[in-house]
Symmetry: C2
Subunit: 335 residues, 2 copies
């Protein structure tokens, strides 16, 4: 592999000059610049990124920490982050936190140790304090899916409470009054925020919130299955079910279908996230859109703007969810 020395020798200049043309330093004569460029091409020269990083103390790499890699949720986000960063020749190092504080911290340490220029974090288990302290360190961080007021400008998040509100308001407006709710894990911020929205909508329609109609799921399909069985077996009356994400809806609906219930004839459903599958399952899901891929993109843009001083980029911090009406919720009794 050719080094900067080889290029310098071939071009008849010093290595400092080669370094200058590489780094777009303008203080180079046009003729010498061309000579160097030619030499680089002839030798198929490629800079050694380790040496660059060591000397410059900057790696052009961004650490991305997500909760999980499988599932329909993080793929689109990762895709957007990768493409936005890649377009500017930065690269992505990924790590997974599994929503466990210890692993999240471990992963952050890992990424920091790898000399990342910045971190994009989608973490759920670590405390606000930890993140605030981390944000004061040398490596900039951006938070996705989390709002911490002390560092609000570094947060890219969805108004989850509004989303929960919209979902429940929809079934209320359809006329439902007995509404079950399948929540996400209470330890996750977005889960409690969505539930708050749910309660807010109920209150607005003067419908009392009944804890017995609210069951906690795990955000996965199976959680929807378990929750639905529990709800159905409790022999409580309800005509609609609002779930904190689409995966749980699909699990819940599968239980209903198995038991011979019609959806949305007997039971209406509203989901959350609008995952790609939402429009292809039967019935097509009425759900709340979660622009997760846009949030990923925005996190990348934030970095480009703030770390690499790539201005003229407009950054939005809060995303607002929208209701997507399809076929899984109807007026009660309207079979």
């Amino acid at each position: 592999m050719a080094t900067i020395y080889d290029v310098a020798e071939r071009a008849g200049v010093s290595l400092a000059t080669v370094s200058r043309v590489m780094n777009k330093n303008t203080n180079v004569g046009e003729k010498t610049k061309q000579k160097v460029l030619a030499a680089m091409a002839e030798l198929d020269y490629r800079p050694n990124t380790f040496a660059q990083s060591l000397a410059s103390n900057s790696s052009n790499s961004i650490g991305v920490l997500v909760s999980q890699l499988d599932g329909p949720y993080y793929g689109p986000m990762m895709a957007e982050i990768e493409s936005a960063l890649r377009a500017t020749n930065k690269h992505v190092i990924i790590a997974v936190g599994h929503s466990v504080a210890e692993q999240e911290i471990d992963s952050v340490e890992f990424l920091l140790g790898r000399g990342c220029d910045a971190l994009i974090l989608d973490v759920e288990a670590v405390s606000d304090e930890y993140l605030i302290e981390l944000s004061q360190g040398a490596t900039p961080i951006v938070l996705i899916n989390r709002y911490i007021s002390d560092i609000s400008d570094r947060c890219i998040y969805l108004d989850n409470e509004l989303g929960g509100y919209l979902a429940t308001r929809h079934v209320l407006e359809l006329g439902h009054r007995d509404i079950a709710y399948v929540s996400g894990p209470k330890r996750k911020h977005d889960a409690v925020e969505r539930l708050e929205g749910h309660k807010k909508a109920l209150a607005e329609f003067d419908v009392p919130y009944k804890a017995s109609l609210c069951v906690e799921g795990d955000y996965k399909e199976d959680g929807g299955v378990v929750a639905m069985e529990q709800l159905l077996d409790s022999a409580q009356r309800f005509t609609a079910v609002v779930c904190a994400n689409d995966q749980m809806v699909s699990g819940a609906i599968s239980v209903c279908l198995e038991r011979g219930l019609k959806v949305p004839g007997d039971l209406s459903f509203v989901g959350y996230d609008n995952i790609p599958f939402a429009r292809y399952i039967s019935p097509k899901l009425t759900t709340v859109n979660n622009p997760i891929h846009e949030m990923g993109k925005m996190a990348a843009l934030w970095l480009l703007k703030n770390i690499y001083k790539n201005d003229q980029l407009e950054v939005t911090n809060v995303f607002v969810p929208e209701l997507v009406v399809r076929g899984s919720a109807r007026r009660p009794g309207n079979k």
Copy 2:
């Protein structure tokens, strides 16, 4: 940030000794080792990975190139690769090829330029020749989802033809004789292999293959929608549809349901991949299991074994697909 010099000074040894204990080199006296360890802890020392890489010419990073990051397919694969590698303190740099030759090559160059110790590639567009040549370079590669006989030991793949065969044989055994097939893009290897299996099964049952019943999709939900509409509008007779992946099945089924057809009453479906959602859509999908996450894990193990000399790992190259019978296919006319 403390350097190796600081540690050496504090421990009262030379930097070479510090380097030795870091690299688990046993040629260090127990007492001095403890002194060094203590000094490292006190200083909160963390090695500079760039300097390590520069000096050792090895980065402990693996480049992973996948076709896409979204969709239900690559997430599980990435998850397994990440966790297997991470467990041995290696890290993953990801790149996306989008199934376009130019981008795939570009990404390979990119990862190579980043000094990856090895590459895991899931590429579809580049030629066999390119990969063979690449495999002879300095950086080891492993191929996922692709078989090239010249470098078969570096290939981790699924017997796609067998999978296609199993899917179609299933509906044949149920008694179907008029069977439509929704293929993946013909430019993708796995798509043509699966189609081959389909034809083989037909031949075995003396059912002639009719090109008019075979339509090419794009492996996405929408492709299933378009293909199904085309099939239905062609007014041809068929009682079963075999799709080259589950996403297309879900799209296809949604069209049928919209047009009032019963599944599997009027039309039987068999998919391919057994994506997580397959068991939660209605009807539950009969499909061919594609152990993509195991293949990801195996690719990682291959590297650990061959690059980092981590022996005692057993590596399997070929994975065999299995039929998963659920509810989307029945005997014809059995409503």
